[in-house]
Every structure is written in C-alpha cells, then in structure tokens.
C-alpha cells in the first residue's frame, strides 16, 4: 500500500532530483503533474541558448506515460486516436491526438510502438478512465507507467556527439525512430524525438538507472557545452518549433467547463494528422461533419511587429473587431522576431489586417500598443540538422 502520509509531500521528486536540485541555484520549482520540476536553473537566456547552440538535459519524468499492450493494442489505439497506429512500424514514434465523441480535443501526445502488440503513449494529462473505456471490447491491458520510467530529453546541436561520446551509436537513428542499448546493467531506449524542434533525443530507462544516466551524459557532455535546462527555456524553444501544449494552447475537453471553449483537431491546425480512411475512430463522424461545414476556429502562427512578447494579447481585425487570442508568445532569441501561437476565427486563418493589443508594464505604467500581426507558417524555426541522418558533427 502507498504511504499513508503521502499528503505531507504533495509534490514528488523525480528520479533525477538529487542532480536537478543540486543544479537548481534559483530554487525555482514549479509543480507538473504532481512532481516538483525546475523552472529555471540559473539563467534563462543561457539555458535557451544552450538548446540552440550546444546540448541540454531536461527532466521529462512527470510526462504521463501509459503502456498499452495486448493482441488488440493496435486496433484499440486506432479506435482511440486519429492516426493509423497499425501503420506505425515497430521502433517508430508518431505524434497523435485523440477526441471525444463530439470531436473535441482531449489531448495530444507521442505514441511509441515498442513491439507489435505493445505501445507507449506519452501525454500531458491523465486519461486512465478514458483509455479504459476506449479499450472496452478489446484484448488489451492499459497501465500507467509514469513512475516506472525515468525519462530525460537530450536536445541541441551537439546532442548526437554527446551520445556518441557516452558510447551510444546513434548514427543511423532517424527522426521518429528509437533504438535500445544496454546501459549500466540494464536497458536504455533512445528515441530521436523532442519538444525543441532541433536535433535531439529522448532517453528512457528505469528509475534505478536515472542517476548513472545523468552522470554519464554530464561526463560525456563536458566538452560539448551540456547543461540542464528548465521549463521556461524549453517553452521558448517549443514556441520557436510551433508546438502546442494541452491546457495552454487549447483547453482539454475533460477539463473544459464552457462548451464554447472546446476545440477540435481541425480547429487546432491538426487536421493533417487525421487518417480519414483507416475506418472508425472516436469523434470521426463529428469531425467529418465539421470538415464539410467548415470549422469555426483556426490555429495559427504569428509574427508580431515590435520587440515586446505578445503573451495573452487579444487579436483584432482592422484594429476593431475581436477575432481571437494569443495562447503562447515570446521574443524568439533564435529568429530575432516576436512570435506567437493563436486561436483565431476560421475566416481569419490566412491573416490580413490582424492586430495584437499588447500591454507592456514599464516601471508601473502600461505602454499600450496595437501591433500588426502576420500569419506565418509553422514551425517558425526549422533547422536542417533536425532531420539529417547521420546527424551532423556539431
């Protein structure tokens, strides 16, 4: 039985805690799915710059992970998610989303096919009841394995070199593929995936090997600028990559109180994921209807004039009519431009005469700005090193 006094430590420590806490000079902790995670270790600019210049470690343990196994695992996932889980090869990974019956987005995540009848689903929110209900009638077993896996993201231009120096031959590992390696008497799975839109990997092992893994990478990375980064630096990187986060860029259906706030994959710019030909999946009928009638909302990337981050800004057409809201924004140090992700009314998906109302607090006075916003393609930042196999030297 679980410790009855669990309430005394509502925020758990991840298996990497001895190392992350030692490096967390600012003591800037934030809760994430019941774990204490680092916001910024010591300097946000240095941390973000390391993601684009060198190599970084990010503690991924709180990410929710479900193991879905059994002879019907592929069929069950095909019912659950909008992509064809059957066509995902063993050793492959794909990004996917799932919806409720009305086609409203529940969450997004990455699906790993570990074996013909075994998958791992990684996501932001907890979904055990929904997964179990979706598994009704299928021969599958679904287990929350969040606590059984220690996960670490190794991201940045020198990440491949660091892995090689640590003794892992990942030269042939292509994007969205994974490989298994023996490590410290156990196993380490390395997938070429990540949330930075850069060259990078995610490393998966058992909690007992977490510290040896951290130490071995830190040793190997000493000459390659390896350093830990917190969630704030990662957030800038993910915005540059144009990635969305459940609960920030859309309200997940299971938490959504206000029905007009629900969004479909089509409305979140995720229609390209949907495999309309694979057969039935939850939400398909509603999404087909929405595709025919046209969605109400669209999700876009924006470049905003000026140099002030447009976080939370209201969007207007012709400076007057409110047409949407910015869900995430930053000054991109990589692109030297102000970028944003936004929900806009569908007819403004192509942009034109869009304006962001920005309030900048400067020494207790607000500078109010109406800034032109231009719809641009995502990802904002898309380096070739992300795709090269074998990866470039640095």
């Amino acid at each position: 039985m679980t410790d009855l006094r669990h309430y005394q430590t509502p925020l758990r420590q991840t298996p990497f805690h001895p190392r992350t806490s030692a490096a967390n000079r600012l003591h800037a902790w934030a809760p994430w799915a019941g774990y204490a995670t680092v916001q910024t270790y010591d300097d946000l600019a240095m941390e973000h710059s390391a993601i684009r210049n060198a190599a970084t470690l990010y503690d991924l343990c709180p990410m929710i992970k479900y193991r879905i196994e059994g002879t019907d695992a592929a069929a069950c996932l095909n019912r659950l998610t909008v992509r064809d889980a059957d066509r995902l090869a063993v050793g492959g990974v794909h990004y996917t989303v799932w919806c409720d019956d009305a086609g409203h987005l529940i969450d997004d995540g990455t699906l790993f096919r570990l074996a013909p009848d075994r998958y791992r689903l990684c996501c932001q929110e907890r979904h055990l009841p929904w997964l179990l209900d979706s598994a009704f009638g299928f021969d599958v077993r679904i287990t929350d394995e969040t606590g059984e896996i220690a996960a670490l993201a190794l991201q940045g231009p020198t990440s491949a070199v660091v892995l090689r120096a640590a003794g892992f031959d990942i030269d042939t590992l292509k994007p969205f593929r994974m490989a298994e390696f023996p490590f410290a008497g156990g196993h380490l799975t390395i997938s070429r995936t990540g949330f930075t839109g850069d060259l990078g990997y995610e490393l998966w092992t058992t909690p007992d090997l977490a510290l040896p893994l951290w130490d071995s990478l830190t040793d190997a990375g000493a000459l390659y600028g390896l350093r830990p980064v917190g969630s704030e630096a990662l957030n800038i990187a993910r915005l540059e990559a144009g990635f969305i986060i459940a609960g920030q860029d859309f309200t997940p259906a299971p938490h959504c109180l206000r029905e007009d706030r629900l969004r479909s994959p089509l409305e979140m710019g995720l229609g390209w994921l949907i495999d309309w030909d694979k057969g039935q999946f939850t939400g398909r009928r509603a999404l087909l209807r929405q595709r025919e009638r046209g969605p109400h909302w669209a999700f876009v990337g924006l470049e905003i004039e000026g140099n002030v981050a447009a976080e939370g800004a209201i969007l207007y057409h012709n400076r007057k009519t409110e047409i949407g809201v910015i869900t995430g924004a930053c000054w991109s140090p990589t692109l030297k431009t102000s970028i944003a992700l936004a929900q806009v009314k569908a007819r403004h998906a192509k942009g034109g005469n869009l304006w962001a109302e920005i309030y900048a607090l400067r020494e207790l006075h607000y500078a109010r700005m109406m800034m032109p916003a231009r719809v641009v393609a995502r990802p904002f930042f898309n380096p070739t090193r992300k795709r090269q196999t074998p990866p470039g030297k640095l």
Binding site: T2, P10, P254
Partner: protein, 538 residues
Amino acid sequence: MTYDAVIIGAGHNGLVAACYLARAGLRVCVVEKNDWIGGAAVSRELYPGFTYSNCSYVCSLFRPEIMRDLELPRHGLQILPYEGGAMFTETGGYLGMFRDHEANRREMARHSPRDAENYDRYLRDLMRHCRFIRPLLMRRPPDLASFRPRDLSELAWLGKQISGMSEAAICDMLRFWTISISDYLDEYFENPVVKAYQAVGAIIGTALGPMSPGTAYVLLHHAMGDVDGNVGAWGYARGGMGAITRALADSFRASGGELRAGVGVERVLVRDGRATGVVLADGDEIRASRVVSNMDVRRTFLGHVEANDLPDGFLKRVRTFKTRGSSGKLNIALDGLPRFTALPEGAPMIRGDLHFTDSIERMELAYDDWKSGHFSRDPFQDMMIPTTIDPTMTPPGKHFMSSFVQYAPPKIAGKDWTHADRDAFGEACIAQIERAAPGFRDLILHVEVRTPRELEAEVGLTEGNIFQGELTFDQMFFNRPVPGYADYRSPIRGLWLCGSSTHPGGGVMGAPGRNAAAEILRDMKRPLDDMRDAYAVL
C-alpha cells in the same frame, strides 16, 4: 406606531431581509420567540466556556454579495476555509479528502486509480451544473402562467441560458436533476468508499436515501456554494455559526432596525385580506404595513394564519408541502482531541468533515430505518471539530464537536419522541464514534442531543426539516413553496415569506431573505440601491 415591516423570526434569512429593508429606509421590527437570536444559524454556550454551533455547522452557500452589501465583515463575520476530511471504513482504514489536487488524487488512487483520475471529469460535470444554477439563486422564479412583462422576460432569460447549451449538456442536466446520487456516481466511480464519500452531500437534510431519485440535485445544492470563489469549498464561521446571525443583527441595528427577542408571534393580523401586523404570545400587538415570515410555509400558514383567510387550494398545497424531518444533531464539549486510530498521527483530515458510513448500501440501510419509523441503528454522521481551526470556541486544548446525524424521523413509530428515544439515538452515534476513536467517551464533558422534536420545538422547523421543505425537484424553483406563489408573496396581501421554504431553498444561504426583500422593495417602487447585482458567473 406602525412599522413598515415586521419580520417573524430572527433566523439568517429573516435578518437578511430585515437588513435590506432597514437600509432602504423602512421602519423594521424583527420578532423572535426565543431569548436568543439566530434560528438555525445559532451559537449558544450550553457548557461553560464552550460556544456551540447548535444547528447548522458549516458555511459555503451564504452569498458573498450579501456579506458585502450588509458589511458583515465590518460587523465581525469571518469565514474560515477548512481542510478536507475522511471517510472511515469498517475495515479500519479510511479515504481522506485533501484540498491539494495531487494529494487528493493520490489518496483516491489508494482506493482506485481509475476513480482518482475520473474525479476531475466528475468535478467538471458538477461544476457545469453549478454554473447553470448559480445565476438562478438570486432571481425571482418566473410564474409560468403569467403574461406580466417581468415573468416573460424572466422566462426569456432562462431560455437564453438553455439555448447556449449543447443537446448533450441539456440532456445531462435534466438527467442530473432527477437521477439518484447512487446511479449518478455509478457512472463515474467503481470504488464503494469513493462513492460513499461523494454521496454525503446528496442525503444531508433530506428524507431520501442515496438510491432515491432526486438526490443528485441535493448534492448540487451542497456543492454550488463557495468560499472566496473556491466553488464547492466549505468553511467555518469564526466563533460558530451564530457569528453569522450576530453580524446580521449588528448590521440591522446599525441601520436603525429594532429587534425583540423572547416573545413569539401568536397570530398574523389580517383585515380585509390584508396583513396589518402581528399579535404576540403575550397579547401585545405590533402594527405593520407588511408582515414578513421567516418561518417555514407550513408553520406560517397552518399555525399563525386563520384558515378562513386563505383559499382552499393554497392551503391544501401548504398542507402537502413536504417538510419531512430526517436528521438530528449531537453537539459535544470535549476535554481533548479524540484520537482516531485509522488516521496517521497529526493527520490534517481531523480538521475537516468525518464520516463512518463507507458504502452507499449502508446509507440506504440507514434510510430504511427512517422509513420504518425508527432512527438509524447504524447512523450516518457528518462530523466536524471546528475548534481544530477556530481558537475562539473553547478554552485551549478543549474541543467542540458537531455531528449531524441521519436518519431521524419526525416521529418514532408514529409516536412522539421520548427522552429515552432521544438518549438511545445519541448513544447510537456516540458508540459509532467510540469505535473509530477508542477513549472518545471519556473526553465528553457535555452532550446536546437534538432530534426533529427539539428542532421543531426550539428552532420552529416543522417536523425538524432543516431546509424548511425538501429540496426535491417537485418543490423547487417556480414550485417552491406553492405553484403561483414563488414570488415570496402569499394569498394575503402584505404577508410575505422570506425563509428557506422559498426559492432557492435551504442552507445558510441568505438568498431567500434577499430575494424577498427585493420583491418587497420593488412592490413599494423603491430603488434597489443598496443591493448590488449578483456576481456574474464568468
């Protein structure tokens, strides 16, 4: 002298109405039969140095707009949020409840990982229902048969609320209002203890079991309040629940109101179909242009108005209005804090609500006893020790325990409660606590046991019904208390109702009192300047 209004009963709703009327410049007199004020929001010192919350014991529903309008914080009112609680199991374990989301999830996951995660979806759905009902609380229900502009606009407003909802949401809502809490919880949860804990709020104050249709709504009634915007949270009034009515009385007097305690109203004076005042038990008459009754609808019209002055159909409705009592109360002065063996040392759950009925089936069996005219042999208790948070109610190290108990029928096997019945009822509850906390009995300094008999005799609640009428769908909204009379008026001009018998019902909410005052002031064509709009539900 003729008052503009005389209020019968110094309960929280009577005082709320009185405050608003006095602030509007009316000459108002409140008459209270007891030597003390408060109605069912009352704190008395029945053991030296110990302040009790003799009837109601926690606060969440009391409308924040009223606290602000009437400046109750300035008159000393403080609401203290409390922490979680626990449901003890027959096997010696427990299910705790925590304010921290993660702690709560892990605690539920000890019993069922699936239920722990589904709890968020359940709360979302409950909050959706709350979002619909909250804007209704401080509005006068429309008269469905009326073509008056205000009724039509009220109906149109209601239609607009519903038209904004999806078909699925409307279906969910209608199901929710009529379903039993047991069936409703089965749709979300698998673990019996988790279900039992969630069912607590669905049976409190109601002569229904968790398997009776309509009990899901009763849960909503207990979940739609808030403490400082934290919807569903409950708190203690610092100094006991009497602090609420004390602050109201102070606010009332500060507005020039007059309060007479110690002599009750014998009869409402009616002349030519119009109320002209009241006659007190001691023969005194108080003349007033209008009489506002904080008594329940049955006590008002069956006990204090001549039947001859009322239409037959109305009277029949009043006679059949359900006020079946279902609950009792133990108020206990303790020499120290009881030690519940199941809980870890120093566990914070002891500062919240504690229960012993660990399954829906046990609750239903407790209700079966009520149906057969007996108090529950294995009673359901909603127990608190507010002195774990509030330092003002007892000497340091001593404690006040409040235990709300179901089920207790208005009569025992058709006969009036005897002292022996009452003592046996109290003993059943104390024995249950003693099993979970050995040595508890030795800590007891004084016990006040209250059955429906005491609640009726002392507080004036007909049959001891704490809500002044059951909160079932057939007695809600425009049907409360009587169809056609949901506007706080009565067949007698100038005789108004302002208690929990009226919309939106029971609990220490204050909304019936405020709504009644608003209707009276509108009727007098007075501006509602001192009554802020209900806060928007964003």
